[in-house]
Symmetry: C2
Subunit: 722 residues, 2 copies
């Protein structure tokens, strides 16, 4: 039987680690020697094999006699990091003669590998052969800071990449979830009658590592690989530590939630807007922004600023920021980059809280200096800003289109933000084409100040928003994002399209852990930890944004497919399986109840195959049953175009029955796949407009959006995971 995970945190000896690190720093090294590694492990309760350092073959033999055979010999040298590569490891030495000659040959090999290597000696180690090989490690991520990892170890580690990551420090619960969260978790629990391993000891070791890297920021990589996990305990057979004493990059300044809301309300819900560089000339950005604000129906004050005009679009023009009346909340910038920092300073001095910086010509074109000047002037003058290098900001409840792109006016519950302008244009086009109701569309651009955490903090309390969709290329402060996202995602789904998921430059990494952390898996696991639903591409981001807000939250895992086309039923089942949805195992009484409505050659079970050629009433009765029965939590509909039930008839009947149950307070997520001639396109839009995400010519998409809702609901703890 596998053990339960119950071990609690052990006492740690921070002083011992400090001593080791001081010595390493004094010698200008970046890696710990084996004895140093052992000392650090001991200080944090990480079990390692019995061992000792031998400076001669005789010492090696006497150590081996003390530890007991068989033993392992390993070269100890500050200049040799990959011992195996240097042929610096010998295993299974069972006699005094073997140890003695092994010592000599290992030292020889090391010299052959690197003639000028400084050789401290040879480590003689107790040989542990039983147990499952796992890996426990930690690495400092540029965005998230210290993260811990756990996975299958040994030679397979980099090939199979069966690992999981969490932010350090890691709670006991999270550490246990890591142990059970890899693909090979079953092996650790014991398969085919085999005993499981001590998962509690593994979780405790994960926690110890996570505390260690939290306590000592200078430890940038930990690599315990392999850790041998036995039925009773776990031992780190090889431990490697990489350190860095460089000053860490200054994290961006942090603001209190109240400060953020104060800024964000000024930005999103201003009473008065100044347009710096407003223009009356067609084709100018300052003209597009003015038009979007005025014609878009913004109800507050609009103050154009331009030294050369008197009136633009019927609004009085001010010559300079200094001339503005009081009470301006936000300034939208439409002037060339080089003038921005000084004008931003003036804006701050005027008491304006926020600025929208549309201009490009900063870090994205290599003008890093200008961008830093911007940041400095903003901080000095107490103004916060969004951008630069953005299309602008839309907030539909206030009819505010502070942007130079085309206006947008379909109001609804989704807030979207993109780091890239191109993606922003894609959002606009898709939204318009599919009548996607939005509360806000926000360009983030270079994110030199306001970023995703600020947006989330605002949308969290914004009643007009119940779903947030983000396109991001990087996170300036991943920890801050996780902190806010963890809170917000409990209430409102957050969908993230993380660009740049391609692994790159991982080959040169010094440790296994660093190599593993180089790819997208860190983002994958930590965004999940934050409760975020991830989209795999732009289209998926947009479809999730469109559908998540209109889908009711399911209350359980039982999904039922009702289909008029057996062929669609099979494909929808495949899609459910591929997307982690659970097809309900149908109890007999429910099968019987469905069979009441469908022809005898139809099939109950799941999918419920009502067969082709059935009238609208059959779709209605079976879907009504699916909504009525409390054991069913979500419906996937497969429609087949026939003369008996044409597409729009199907759509109207389905909208009606779902509406009827909604009136009775019964709301379940329903999605539909429509197979048929072109009329199914209109029918799909009609269904969407009535709260049923529906798609023509696809069996994948309806299931993917339902699965996204489930992923969110599970992470938010809104339904019990089976």
């Amino acid at each position: 039987m596998a053990s339960t995970i119950t071990e609690t945190a052990r006492a740690t000896d921070q002083e011992a680690v400090r001593e080791v690190l001081d010595a390493v720093r004094a010698e200008g090294r970046t890696a710990l020697s084996a004895p140093e590694a052992k000392r650090v492990c001991d200080a944090y309760g990480i079990e390692v094999p019995q061992e000792g350092l031998a400076a001669s073959a005789e010492e090696a033999v006497s150590l081996a006699e003390e530890i007991g055979y068989p033993v392992v010999l390993k070269i100890v040298s500050p200049d040799i990091l990959h011992k195996t590569e240097a042929k610096g490891v010998l295993v299974g030495l069972a006699t005094a003669d073997g140890v003695s000659s092994g010592y000599e040959s290992i030292v020889e090999n090391a010299k052959a590998y690197k003639s000028d290597a400084d050789i401290t000696g040879v480590q003689v180690q107790q040989m542990l052969s039983e147990g499952q090989e796992v890996l426990i490690g930690a690495v400092t991520d540029p965005s998230f800071g210290p993260v811990v990892t756990f996975g299958i170890g040994g030679v397979l580690v980099e090939v199979l990449r069966d690992v999981t990551f969490r932010l350090a420090p890691t709670s006991a619960e999270d550490a246990a979830a890591m142990v059970d969260g890899i693909r090979a978790a079953e092996v650790l629990k014991g398969v085919r009658g085999g005993a499981g391993v001590d998962r509690g000891a593994l979780a405790a070791m994960i926690q110890a590592v996570s505390r260690l890297v939290t306590d000592f920021e200078e430890i940038t990589e930990v690599d315990l690989n392999p850790v041998l996990a036995r039925e009773d305990g776990a031992t780190a057979v090889d431990a490697r530590f990489v350190v860095s004493f460089d000053e860490t990059d200054a994290r961006p300044p942090r603001y209190s939630q109240e400060e953020i809301l104060d800024t964000m309300r000024a930005l999103m819900q201003p009473d008065a807007i100044a347009v710096v560089g407003a223009s009356g000339s067609e084709g100018k950005i300052g003209n597009s922004v003015m038009k979007n604000l005025v014609n878009g129906g913004f109800e507050g004050e609009i103050y154009p600023i331009n030294p050369k005009s008197d009136e633009i679009l019927g609004k009085k023009v001010y010559a300079d920021v200094d001339d503005l009346p009081d009470g301006v909340d936000v300034a939208v910038f439409c002037i060339p980059a080089k003038f921005v920092p000084d004008t931003l300073a003036k804006v701050g001095q005027k008491g304006i809280k926020a600025a929208v910086l549309i201009p490009s010509g900063f870090a994205e074109t290599g003008e890093e200096e200008l961008q830093m000047e911007l940041q400095r002037k903003a901080r000095e003058n107490g103004v916060r800003f969004i951008g630069p290098n953005i299309y602008g900001v839309y907030y539909t409840p206030g009819n505010m289109s502070a942007a130079f792109t085309t206006p947008y006016d379909v109001k609804g519950p989704v807030a979207l933000a993109s780091q890239s302008g191109g993606i922003g244009m894609g959002i606009l086009g898709f939204a318009r084409s599919t009548k996607l109701g939005v509360s806000a569309i926000v360009g983030l651009g270079n994110k030199a100040d306001i970023d995703e955490d600020d947006l989330l903090t605002f949308f969290e309390q914004d009643d007009a928003t119940n779903c947030v969709a983000l396109h991001m290329e990087d996170l300036k402060d991943g920890r801050a994002f996780v902190e806010v996202a963890q809170r917000v995602s409990k209430e409102k789904p957050i969908v993230v399209l993380k660009a740049g998921a391609t692994p790159a430059g991982t080959k040169a990494a010094a440790s296994h852990t660093a190599a593993l952390a180089g790819d997208d898996k860190v983002y994958e696991d930590i965004l999940r930890e934050a409760g975020v639903v991830r989209a795999r591409g732009l289209q998926e981001l947009l479809q999730f944004a469109r559908c998540l807000p209109i889908l009711p939250t399911p209350t359980g895992e039982n999904v039922v497919i009702i289909t008029g086309a057996g062929g669609s039923g099979v494909l929808l089942s495949d899609a459910c399986f591929n997307n982690g949805l659970q097809l309900m195992e149908m109890p007999d009484d429910l099968n019987k109840a469905f069979m009441e409505f469908i022809p005898p050659f139809g099939a109950a079970g799941n999918p419920v195959d009502i067969t082709g050629g059935e009238p609208p009433e059959t779709y209605r009765s079976t879907v009504a049953l699916g909504l009525e029965d409390e054991r069913i939590h979500a419906l996937v509909l497969g429609y087949w175009h026939t003369i008996v039930t044409p597409p729009m008839v199907f759509a109207e009947v389905m909208a009606e029955v779902v509406e009827e149950f909604r009136g009775r307070g019964i709301e379940k997520p329903v999605v539909a796949s429509l197979a048929g001639d072109v009329e199914v396109e209109e029918a799909s839009q009609y269904l969407f407009d009535h709260g049923i995400p529906a798609f023509p010519y696809t069996t994948e998409t309806p299931v993917e959006v339902l699965a996204a809702k489930y992923r969110w609901a599970r992470m938010a703890g809104l339904l019990d995971r089976r």
Copy 2:
């Protein structure tokens, strides 16, 4: 260093295996004992550990002395298949005492596990501890017959499912490709300075197993797990064989290629069509078929059959099949199921070669008997048929819509077939909506006779078709399909949407191999062996069908992204990575050449970021360079909607430049992702119409279709895989 794969086939001793199997059959067993398994392995040159069978503790000790310590003891009983579960295995026994007491306890455990187990004795086996654990096996697949498998073995096998399958018998080349084709292949080649294993020995063992199951059909499962692979050789530590002496199901009858073409030409390119059950009444299937044929412009003769009419749609009506004139090629059935078998017999007697059976009411509604009668009568009377339970058959070059669904007339190079009617309707609607040019749309329904191999054989030689897209739920004769597909896919892409990919009922499988074969991986690997491009869902099938024929075949792996939106560039890069496309590493001269055309703050490298706000000329120049340079093999374009280059301008310029190069004989695949306002939809269709698959609001789809073309080209051997 890793060994090369060079071993050649060894001689086999079929008689020895026959003797073993005869004995097993005589005793009514379904599994081989360990000594029997060893004999079979010996007969086919599969290396196993030294071993012997002991009937007492004393015998065990004397065997162990002979073999040499340490040894393994294993219970031998026809009633115990899972020895570990029965605690019937002891490893690492290094002394005579250990072996003696081990013998006793193992027998005791076996009795405790199954009190009535017939215990033959205990196997004493040489203990092999070094080496990488792999699995080699074989299983009889219901559709494909004997298939072999290779993968990572040991406790991780079922968890990681890192295995690959091939049809048996397996060539030396394929066996070697299997060894190198699993995810963990790197481990076998040797990682981080470790020695590789003898991959030649593994390939030879795969071949031996594949020959064994080919020579002896009654061996339905082989499970060599673990096989220990060392630097010099490989040993099957545990070998399990399951046999079945049941008569195998009769395979469907096979026809010669000439016979198939004769039938298929009658079906697809008839000079004269009879419509059995033609009708003049609106709403009847027999009326829809008549209308589609007559109004669709079919140029051959149309002979309606109906005892109660004289004329339908201006065509003379015949009372009965017997009354038809000679020279009818195909009969389309629109009569109730129960009348079909007899009428089909008459059709055959009349010398009509083929029939289209639209009616439902056969196996799909539980009427298995009626369907078998159909098959019998067809064979007896020399007529072949498609269906029953289908919408019909379209063949556009002959303006033939022998179907009751809506007519279709956009001619083009794609032939589509679906097993399900619902999917067929989806094909029609999508095709119409996207102006997808098709040569044929075919319903396969119950596939009681004509199936995919027949279709492929026809489309192979059909000049109107250059791509075949198939929706299938099962393959009646997987081997026949692979045989034809392997040939056809060398010339024309075959896209398959295989429904029913959900693993089911694998838990009860007796061996690891059978458990692994229960899921979709067998189809995955064997369809790839057949050169087939697999689609993951209906939408993907349709998009691949739409785009593969218009994309030129690439001649190399170098893909270059050219984008006006940096954001799209990153997402397109991600998509390339996720879809196995190789972004070209740009040589300096090429980077310089691109930089000539783009602003200094733009980025060369790959993606080529021309930056937003550039005029059409920049798109034109960079794309022209991409088409011109011979080192570049495919282009992915990312468009960003701006006032400077509006969507239709972009589309026209791109169409023009691609056309210009085509005129010069330079054809490379080009796909595009368009981010912008709704005008990008029209621009995308324009680009598609001009040979550039282009998609609005998505960075995934353009790359997916390009990747599909690459997958096909690689499998067809049309470009060198890196």
